[in-house]
Each structure stands twice: as C-alpha cells, then as structure tokens.
C-alpha cells in the first residue's frame, strides 16, 4: 500500500539517507547533494556530489555502486527513496509516475479494526516521520494529489502538524488526503491546530462503520471510539477542516448501511465526500474472513438505498472497490476506479468483458475470496466478423 520495503545486498558505513532519484549523470555538481543517481549500468563518469549511485545491472561484490534488484527497476527520475546502508533496507517513499502516492507515516494505531489492511505494530517508528520530513521538500511540486496513511497519524501529535506544515509549504498545489480514525480529534484544541496550519487542500478521511456506537466500537475493537470519532468529525466542521467519511462494507456493517447513510446525512451533512468501500483481502481481513465476507450481490439493496439517501441529501458519494457486474446499473455512475494502478487485477471470469476499461477490477489480494457472481459483459454489438 505504501512503503515498499526491500532489503538490498549492499552494505556500508554511510548514514541512512533520503534522496531524490536523478537519471542525469551530468547534473551540475551544486545540485547533486539531494539526489541519488540512477543508472542502467555502471558508467565511468564523475559522480561526485551525489548522495548515492544506484545501478540496475551490476555485481554487488565488485561495484562500489548500489545494485537494485529487478523489482525496483521501475524506479525513475524524481522518485524519492530512503536507504539505510547499515541494514540494506530500501524504501520508495514517493513515485513521480503514480497518481496514488500514499505515504505511510506510522504503523502504530489506537484501534484494531477487524478488517485492517495495514495491521498495526506497537513499535517506535518515529524515524519514518524524520524521513518524510526530509522527503517532502524533494517531492515534485507538480504532484496533483498525495496521501498520508497509517497506522493512526494523530498519534504523532505535533509531528503530524509538522508534516502538514511541510506539505503546505513545499507542496501548496497538491491535494492532501489524510487517513485518520479521528478519535484524537475529539480534543477540539488538536482539531484547531490542524486548522491553524491553513493547508489549502487538506481533507481528513475518517471511517465510520455504524450509526450505532456499540456496533462501530466492535468493528474498530475499541470502546468509546464511536464517541470520539463523531465528536472529532463535529470538531473538524467547527474549525473548518474538510472531511470525508469512509465506510468499509462487510458482514458486520452492511445491514445498517441505509441507517448509517441517514445518520451521516442528518448529522454530518457538511462532509465533502462519502466513500462506500469493498473489502480488501489483506491484513486482518484474512484472519477474520469468515466473520467479514459477504458477497456484494447480497447487499445490493442496502447499498442502493444508502447511495440514494446520500445522493438525495446532496452528498458527493462514491462506491470504491466494487466490480461493475456486481452493481445494479444505476449505481455505476457512483462507482470509481479506485484501486492503485499497480494493485488491480482481473479474474478469469472477466475474460472478454467489454466493461473492463470502466471497471476498477480487483485488488491483487482478491483471489483469496471474491464473488461467485462475477461475469463478463459480452458486448455483441462490437464484435467484428473478421473471420
């Protein structure tokens, strides 16, 4: 989802660093201190001044450069990476070519959602924020949108505010989506601090799984979470920070989708967006699969009613991670292709489907369990009789 971690063979005494990839070996020397040169093969130019030199092809035993394994060959100019030469740990923090840059800021969390795709770890990972603070000034200013994800970003407290300031100062034209459970935003002062940053394009994306406190608390496995999250949403409205509500649909949430939609329309009519999302077969979902899985065709009526309630209330509403063949046609207008470019796949049942270009397909993790109702749209009208 976020930090692609790989362990390289290379080791040295050099300190861990964050650098931007350059593919220009002739880059003027004064510009090299923030850059890591990426070459296909070992060259013999003057590479002094670069933070590091990465090569796609070479023998680590003989070359002074850092050799990248094939699964990192996609890296290109203006990507931003972190490398720890002591451990060989390499991470791509930002990819210039991806429209979905989502930066993991911490793995710590104060909830433990049944279907978490990024299971939390209680570790000191504050070095990640250090790296991001270095990375943000290196990220292309032309990036249209970017996200922070976790873990729970608000656990960083003032360091989250620092990240917001950095993105505002270095990436003022970039929309920033921040995933948070909103629980700590029940402290109005903290919500106010976020507002005070004055980020021009900030939206906080907050999951809400039920209109009923106990049912939401169960899904996120935290007593009092509903209370805190709903207060957090109200506080954000109070201080003028835009919010999106995210609902993951599964066996424990689908039955009250219409009531949840009404609850949102009544209590949070100010939210900028409501996203109704399908289950991703990863993280804790795998462990709790039998308690979570429901075939999307079995909640078509609840989903339809929820979308109708939200859209009639004038709320911008999207359906994520749902294949078109599982949705009634009048919901297609709400379905978005939301799965990251490098994550989506199609099933054998999709072969020959005429709607593949409009359909978001599946997460790469989906083969574990997916609907038995997937079927290709065969568009007879567009078949050419070439034979």
């Amino acid at each position: 989802m976020t930090l692609l971690g790989t362990v390289l063979d290379h080791r040295s005494d050099q300190e861990p660093f964050v650098a931007r990839i350059s593919t220009n070996p002739n880059l003027p020397k004064p510009m090299r201190s923030t850059e890591a040169l990426l070459l296909d093969d070992e060259g013999d130019g003057d590479y002094t001044g670069f933070r590091a030199v990465f090569v796609r092809h070479g023998d680590q035993a003989t070359t002074p450069h850092i050799v990248l394994p094939p699964d990192l060959h996609y890296l290109g100019a203006e990507d931003v990476v972190r490398y720890n030469p002591h451990t060989g740990n390499f991470r791509a923090l930002y990819r210039r070519s991806s429209p979905n840059n989502s930066l993991l800021v911490t793995e710590r969390c104060n909830s433990k959602c049944l279907m978490c795709s990024q299971p939390p770890r209680d570790i000191d990972d504050s070095y990640v924020v250090d790296a991001l603070m270095e990375a943000i000034p290196l990220i292309s200013r032309a990036t249209p949108a970017m996200g922070f994800t976790g873990g729970e970003i608000t656990l960083l407290q003032d360091r989250f505010i620092g990240l917001l300031r950095a993105t505002k100062n270095y990436l003022p034209d970039t929309r920033l989506d921040v995933l948070t459970n909103g629980r700590l935003l029940s402290y109005l002062q903290y919500a106010q601090k976020i507002a005070d940053v004055g980020h021009p394009q900030l939206i906080l994306c907050i999951p809400l799984y039920s209109d009923v406190d106990t049912l939401h608390d169960f899904v996120v496995q935290a007593k009092g979470a509903f209370d805190q999250t709903t207060r957090g949403i109200i506080n954000l409205a109070r201080v003028g920070v835009a919010t999106e509500i995210r609902v993951v649909i599964h066996q424990q949430t689908y039955k009250r989708l219409p009531q949840l939609a009404e609850f949102i329309a009544r209590n949070f009519p100010f939210v900028a967006h409501v996203a109704l999302m399908g289950l991703e077969m990863t993280g804790f979902t795998k462990a709790n699969l039998e308690a979570l899985w429901v075939d999307p065709v079995d909640y078509r009526s609840e989903l339809s009613e929820a979308v109708e309630i939200l859209s009639c209330a004038g709320l911008h509403t999207s359906i994520y991670n749902h294949q078109l063949c599982l949705l009634p046609e009048y919901l297609w207008a709400f379905a978005r292709q939301s799965i990251s470019d490098w994550k989506n796949i199609y099933m054998p049942e999709c072969d020959g489907c005429s709607k593949m270009r409009e359909c978001g397909g599946f997460f790469a993790s989906a083969p574990l369990r997916y609907s038995s109702n997937i079927k290709a749209f065969i568009d007879e009208g567009h078949r050419y009789a070439v034979k």
Partner: protein
C-alpha cells in the same frame, strides 16, 4: 452471547454491547392511528412505532441489542453509557435548524402601489383607482424604508416589490433598485418583482435583465378558472400572464420567472387541470396554496371559501398526480411538500415565514406599505387594509429601527406564540415540522395564540404532515421522489 468466527486476538460484539439500561432523549409523540404511534425528536427525526414497541421504548424495556433499539439510538431518541456524543450531535442539529434566526430580517417587501388592474375576490388589498397620489409609495417613503432595511443585520437582503400591482409604479421600482445597490454595504442582494405581468414592457424587461431581477407571478390554472379567479377588464388575465411568462423567459431566462396559485372553491375540483397548466407552461414545480383568510377574502368567504378538509382532499389528489408524473420520469415538485419535507428529512431550516417557530413576522420578513406604515408581514398589512392595525409596527417617517423592532408589540407577539410553549403545540409530535402564525390566528380566532382544536392552520398542517408520512411509509418510490424534493 454472539459468537463470530474471529481470530483469537479479537473481541466479540458482547464486549462492546450496551448494558440493560438506557436514558430517553427529549421527544414528542402522538397516536398516529389505531396501531401506531408517531415519535419525533427535538430536530424532527421521526419513527412510527407499534403500540407495544412504543410502550417498551418509554417503559425502558427495550432489549438493548434489538434492531429497534439501534434505530432509536441512531436517530437520537435514546442513549446510554456507551456514548453521550449524541447530546452534542443533537445540539448541533438544533442550532442548525434555528440558524436563520441569528441572521434576522432578510425579506423586505416594498408595496410600491396599491393600484391594480385586476379585481380578484381573494385579494386583500388592491384598489382599482387612477389616483396615483393616494395609493402609490413616494421616493421619500421608499428612501426611509431603505434606510431601515440596511439596519437589519442580515447578510442577505431580499427586496420584494408588492402591490396592488407593483409595476404600475415602475418608476419607483427603478428608484429603489438603484438606491439599494448604491447604498449596499456588502450584503448579498436579491430583487423580486411580484406582478400579474399585465403592465410588462420591454423597458421593464431590460431593467430586470440589467439588475438580475426575478419575476414572481400568479397563475391559477387553465384559462377559464384563472380568468374567473382573477377578473380584469377584457377578461384576458390568463392570456396576459402566460404571454408575460413566455416573454420573461425569452428575455431573462427559463428560471427567472416563478408562479404561485391560489386555490378557490372553484379550483377544488380541478387539481389535475391546474397542474397540467403548470406543465403546459413549462414549470417544474407548483405551490398548491390555500386561500388566505385576510382582507377581502374574508368578506368573500361565502362565495370563494371552503373548509380545510376540502382543501386537503384537493391537495392529496394534486400530490398523487404529481407523484404519478414523477414515476413517468416527468420531474415536477409540489412546493409546500418540499418545504415540509426539508424539515422532516434534513437538518436544515427553511426561510418559509408561515411555518416557523418563533414566528417569522418582523424577524424573517417585514413589509413597508405604500403610505410608509411598517407591518410585520405581508398578511398583516392586508389585515390593516380592513381596518385592523394590530400588526403595524410603526411608520418609516416617524419611528427608528430600535423602536420598530424592540419597543413595538412585535417581540411579545413572537414570544407568546412560540409553538414550543403554546397549548396544543408544546407536546405535539408534529411541532418540529410546524410553525406558528400569530397573524392567522388573530384574524381567524381573535388572539395571537389561537385555539388548536378549531384552528384551520393546525388542521391543514396536520393533514399535510400525515399525507406526507403516509406516502413515504407506504411507497418506497414516493419516498425516493420526496427525498429529492427535500434537498
């Protein structure tokens, strides 16, 4: 105990469940029919409960893991120790619902002339007279009224020209628009001319285009009905109105003209024909409005009046037809239903003066009569034309803004008639959707508060609320259509 196939590290629903007890949040109820109770919370969210369900709810005997318990919790009828954020959410919704109050008076009506070329029996005030000096507002009067209007703290000022026939004094309309724009201190301005369209000229249209002025006119239905309701020399009111509507659209744009209808006894049998006429004229909404019991309408009551039940039957037939049109894919909306549905289905307030509590008189709208007298609403100056000056708040030439708003009888009238406290309303389940109308009750029952069991205001609104609930509860498709209207 609910056992789910969860991994070991996870807790089961019981670990997060409510205890056996719960607390009630403020709500009102009424016996809806033989088998059901209607309950509404502080902000107008509602639910119909079976008698046994209702008894269990109020008796604190609901099972706290039941669907009904969840429904009532989600709609803020009850809460328990798990979370009290509902109190904050309710408070936020209540403030939202009353948010227009803090803006104060937004709608300012200027009666530019009482003269009119029509002699409609339901009209309260118009005079067929050539005497300009007696019934036209002067620039001096208008100028003072504009001064007073800008004393209102409202960020939006809506200037509506009323009559008589407002355009018979078009010179003054021009003067007021120009002056208001010149004196504007940063408010958002809107201008509306209420007119029967018969004096419409290209000059007027050009002026409306230049200043983005909206037109509001009267269309009572098909030609014969309209001309009977709205007599004028030549019996050509309908033709003038429909031609005028077309000209306004051609000149200013499709949505720059709206129309209102008044239901007379003759209209009662013709709901479909009236709606068809609105369709024929390209309107996408119609406001099925009962006759107002003011002014000349009171005197003509025997001829053109009717009982509330007859109006409700007309209303229901019309509404059914409009829903049927929607089912065919023809978008059409009934405006009164839309106002009420907004109160039922959204957290937002409406600016509709006659359905507010506290009453909107003076504090939502105010009327400057041609002679400089100031009235608390359009209806109250109509009463005045029949000699009842109860709602006259002062005169633009003699009184200050502070006198008019704070020292007149206005504030007591508003306090005393708040539905939250008046007999019959205070505990009525319909109250969050309803309002209070001191002018109506003064006119029909002789006191501001009125007597609910015999109030036609009460009977009409209760009838409309029940009609809308019946439709939404009985027909999911109707509910979809009505959800759209509410927005």
């Amino acid at each position: 105990m609910i056992e789910l196939p969860l991994a070991k590290a996870f807790s089961h629903p019981d670990a997060y469940a409510s205890g056996a007890t719960y607390k009630l949040l403020p709500f009102r109820f009424l016996r809806y029919d033989e088998a059901r109770y209607l309950i509404t919370n502080l902000v107008g969210e509602y639910k119909l409960l079976g008698t046994d369900e209702f008894r269990a709810f109020v008796g604190h005997n609901l099972a706290t893991a039941s669907t009904l318990f969840y429904d009532l919790k989600g709609k803020h009828f009850l809460y328990d120790d798990v979370s009290d954020a509902s109190l904050e959410l309710l408070a936020t919704k209540y403030r939202t619902k009353q948010s227009l109050l803090s803006n104060f008076t937004a709608l300012h009506m200027f009666v530019t002339s009482l003269r009119c070329d029509h002699s409609c029996p339901y009209c309260q005030v118009s005079r067929v007279s050539e005497d300009r000096s007696a019934f036209d507002m002067t620039e001096e009067t208008a100028s003072r009224a504009i001064d007073l209007m800008f004393k209102s703290p409202s960020p939006v000022l809506k200037v509506e020209f009323q009559g008589g026939e407002s355009l018979l004094n078009f010179g003054l309309v021009k003067y007021i628009v120009t002056e208001v724009k010149q004196r504007n201190d940063g408010r958002h301005l809107e201008f509306v001319i209420a007119t029967n369209l018969s004096p419409l000229t290209d000059e007027i249209l050009e002026f409306c285009r230049e200043h983005s002025i909206l037109i509001s006119t009267s269309l009572d239905g098909p030609e014969e009905l309209h001309n009977t309701n709205r007599p004028r020399p030549g019996r050509d009111s309908h033709q003038r109105a429909t031609n005028g509507i077309q000209r306004v659209r051609d000149y200013l744009g499709r949505d720059r003209v709206s129309a209102l209808m008044t239901t007379t006894a003759k209209s009662l049998t013709m709901p479909r024909e009236i709606i068809d006429e609105y369709l024929r004229m390209g309107f996408r909404s119609v406001f099925l409005r009962p006759i107002s019991p003011y002014g000349f309408a009171l005197k003509s009551a025997a001829k053109i009046g009717y009982q509330t039940e007859a109006f409700l039957e007309f209303y229901r037939t019309g509404l059914d037809y409009i829903l049927e049109l929607n089912r065919q894919g023809i978008p059409m909306r009934e405006e009164y239903a839309a106002i009420v549905l907004r109160k039922m289905l959204t957290p937002y307030p409406t600016g509709y003066v006659d359905l507010q509590s506290p009453s909107g008189i003076g504090i939502t709208c105010i009327s400057y009569n041609y002679d400089g007298d100031i009235y608390a609403s359009d209806e109250s100056r109509m009463l005045a034309e029949n000699g009842d000056h109860t709602f006259r708040l002062g005169n633009v030439h003699r009184d200050t803004y502070e006198d008019i708003m704070a020292s007149s009888q206005l504030l007591p009238m508003i306090y005393d008639t708040m539905a939250e406290g008046t007999p019959g309303c205070t505990d009525c389940a319909f109250q969050p959707w309803c309002g209070t109308d001191p002018v109506f009750h003064h006119a029909t029952q002789g006191d501001y508060v009125g007597h609910r069991p015999t109030s036609e205001y009460c009977a009409k609104n209760m009838g409309v609320f029940r009609t809308l609930i019946d439709l939404m509860e009985g027909d999911p498709h109707a509910k979809t259509i009505m959800r759209r209207w509410a927005q």
